[in-house]
Amino acid sequence: MSETPIAKPVPEASPALAPFFAAARAGRLVVQRCAGCGALRFPPRELCSRCLGLEATWQDVSGRGEIFSYNVMHQVYHPGFAADVPYAVVIVKLEEGPKITSNLVGCPVDEIAVGMPVEVAFEQLSPEVTLPKFRRRRC
């Protein structure tokens, strides 16, 4: 007897993240840019912790970066991931500086290494939500 697998959690396109998801749907990766001091940041926050400025815009980034760190999840915390363990979660340090937590697609977990060059690859979860993920980049 087969049961319908439980879906992975789909993030809510909250007002704070709406520009991020709008860009992802269009195949672009964006981060916040402080209007006061120009510092880039991700995930979005209401203010800049460098200059305390409140105004910010969203800016395209290259989508290129490297694996800053990663873990390999063996424990199932959500049934949507039961079929995936062990799977890796990665922190990508973008060329522009900010770090983004994501997954690496098309790469076995035992081949992931700190410092590995990666580039963004978009995965559509629903009509509203496309999730930026990453894949290996040959340099």
Binding site: Y70, N71, I91
Partner: protein, 392 residues
């Protein structure tokens, strides 16, 4: 004027630990205070200060210390606060109590931690195989993390540990050496949850992964229970039933920024204040009770206090220095990896037992200068205490 030797720990209370369900978190807190007063030979009416570090079960606990005051039936308190710096809170509570006593605001303060994150097995429900026991207690996800499958504090700490291992060449064997050394201590501690379970490095490698680079034996236990200590002036402590444990030095360090970039705790900053106050150097420390939410945290902390250079703690532990019979006994009750998980109270409780000379089979040979660390918020909050059975 420094508070060195002017304030002491006069009483210690520890409830049964682990999979115990017969009380609520408030009930465990009350029991821990009752035991601590009994240990000190004091009455409830002697208390005029109450500091609480609320565990997860307290919820937001904005008025936790008041709730506990009412449950304990305490009147006429002159000091009260709920405090939370994660694992650094226990040390910070002692510090706030010591400052208030030294300033004349109050005389005798109970510092308390209690939690009940584990549900009785009969009350656990799982939808699709997700954990319901200890793994469930700390399984929150932040922001977008859930979409990428990043759940729980273990996963976030694993990111910092992996980066650290990459930068400093620390190996899985090094992490395992911490777990094995602490288990050897736990095997001599009747109060340790793993008292009866020996551990080899082979067992460590064979144990299941939780989230690489952490095996389950790299991660602290999760325990229900309570712990309390009574802090009072040195003069009053000398009238206590038990030998006083004097506070020689204390400090805090909260470095800010990204711990995965820093790869260091707040210990260097906290240590500076505490060691100057105590009038000691790193080489004077005879015994360490270090906050060990993970095996990894012990390595970082040993380096940050200067017992080893950065990246060398793995080899230091693997060589047996921190184990029974070693040159620098560390986490002599088994720590949070092998004894019980009362946040920062775990190292503090063992420090009091050792400083009093009450540790029995596991008593460290030298106990005049005992270092206690607390660490919270992913290497982001830190407290240091230096304690001793000698007044100065």
């Amino acid at each position: 004027m420094t508070p060195k030797g002017r304030v002491a720990i006069a009483g210690l209370g520890l409830t049964p630990q682990g999979q115990v369900y017969d009380r609520t978190h408030v009930g465990f807190a009350v029991e821990a205070v009752r035991l601590a007063l009994e240990d000190a030979g004091l009455a409830r009416t002697d208390l005029d200060g109450l500091l609480l570090n609320p565990g997860l079960a307290w919820g937001d606990a904005a008025m936790g210390s008041f709730m506990l005051q009412q449950a304990l039936g305490l009147r006429e308190l002159r000091l009260s606060a709920s405090m939370n710096l994660g694992g650094a809170t226990a040390g910070a509570m002692i510090q706030h109590a010591a400052l208030a006593i030294a300033a004349g605001m109050c005389t005798t303060v109970a510092c308390v931690f209690a939690d009940r994150p584990l549900k009785p097995p009969a009350e656990r429900r799982s939808r699709g195989g997700e954990p319901t026991g200890s793994a469930a207690a700390y399984a929150f996800a932040r922001g977008l993390d859930a979409a990428y499958g990043q759940f729980g504090i273990n996963a976030i700490y694993a990111m910092v540990a992996r980066r650290y291992m990459h930068v400093y060449g620390t190996t899985q064997d090094d992490l395992g050496a911490v777990a094995v050394a602490q288990r050897r201590w736990a095997n001599m501690n009747p109060a340790a949850q793993f008292h009866d379970v020996p551990l080899t490095l082979g067992d460590y490698h064979a144990s299941r992964w939780v989230v690489e680079p952490f095996h389950v034996l790299d991660c602290c236990l999760v325990s229900n229970g309570g712990a309390a200590v009574i802090v009072t002036s040195a003069e009053r402590a000398r009238d206590s039933k038990k030998p006083p444990v004097y506070v020689w030095g204390m400090g805090q360090g909260h470095p800010g920024g990204d711990p995965a970039e820093r790869l260091a705790s707040g210990a260097p900053l906290a240590k500076r204040t505490a060691f100057v106050m105590a009038g000691i150097e790193t080489s004077d420390v005879q015994l360490c009770e270090l906050y060990d939410c993970y095996s990894f945290t012990v390595l970082v902390t040993l380096e940050d206090y200067g017992f080893c250079r950065k990246g060398e703690a793995g080899a230091f532990v693997a060589a047996g220095h921190t184990a029974p019979g070693g040159t620098l006994p560390v986490n002599t009750g088994g720590g949070q990896l092998s004894s019980f998980y009362m946040w920062g109270m775990t190292p503090l409780v063992e420090a009091v037992i050792q400083a009093r000379g009450e540790a029995g089979e596991r008593q460290a040979p030298r106990r005049d200068v005992v270092l206690v660390s607390g660490n919270g918020g992913l290497l982001s909050t830190h407290s240091t205490l230096v304690v001793s059975p000698l007044p100065s």
